[in-house]
Subunit: 162 residues, 2 copies
Amino acid sequence: MQLGKGVEWTTHICTILALVPEKRGLSVDALAEFFEVPAAYLSKQMQLLRRAGIVQSVRGKGGGYRLARHVDAITLLDIVAAIEGPLPAFRCTEIRQNGPCGLKRKDCKRPCEIASAFAQAEQTYRDTLAAKTLASIMQEAAVNATPEHMMDIAKWVQGQLS
Amino acid sequence: MQLGKGVEWTTHICTILALVPEKRGLSVDALAEFFEVPAAYLSKQMQLLRRAGIVQSVRGKGGGYRLARHVDAITLLDIVAAIEGPLPAFRCTEIRQNGPCGLKRKDCKRPCEIASAFAQAEQTYRDTLAAKTLASIMQEAAVNATPEHMMDIAKWVQGQLS
DNA sequence: CATATCCGGATAAATTATATCCGATTAAGG
DNA sequence: CCTTAATCGGATATAATTTATCCGGATATG
């Protein structure tokens, strides 16, 4: 059970995009360089974020990506759902309907107890991620980081704005 | 982010193995037939359960698998860990150390705030699964199932014991 | 000794994750 | 109007993982 790399990449990237001024954007190439990840593949992940309404894209010269919502309104769950999709990790294939003692379809109105248990566990997982906003992550990071490092990042962002 | 089919299969199978009398076992072929899953592959999953100490195997004629512990002492987390392995779903590749503003190794003693947030969410997931024992699952199932269906299963198990 | 069963390794097929490329589109600026 | 820079979307390729099969070896039964 593994999350794709895109989740890690785009979460970090959102914390950088949060530093971009209104009406400006950062290009995929710039972001890929910042984290040393493959630009072409990152582009795909950013498109997923855009379709989920987490970031906005601006085409053409001087364009790029920026956050579509305030950092308070973006949670880790939003990002995971955008990149990984809405499917649950546990896939119930209804094997209780198989074999010599298989149940009939009509006797399966209630969800399988095993599937329910996993669904419940995944719900607690999602709840925890939903409680973590980009704002809260950045606040934690700001507390732990050195002022020099934060200034380095701010300067780099400024330098990328064409 | 998907769990393997083996998790679903082996969890259901454990609920069946719980009905097997002391010193007896059910063969992989019988279990595979019961749920209509591929026997050869199921055999691999059962070996994972055995290495995790969840089931015992008995070789030779009349052998098979049975639970190694009481149903109160087997949790869904035990099964997931056995089949999927102990790796966390979120893989932190430390991309904060990459690129023009990358941190030095020595400045990375604290875990990355993003990785921490995901680790925390996964912990709630595991905690929930750890609270679900095989006993509790079977009790729920017994409440919801018809007496006829439970008897069908009990009879099938009896019929398999050589 | 014949049979049934798990064990472990090798291998293959199917699916998913990762990654690249390119033509189309869009916008900025000379 | 033209060039440049940038995303978009589709097609494609590669790598990794999951799913699945097979077989020789070990082991226990009767």
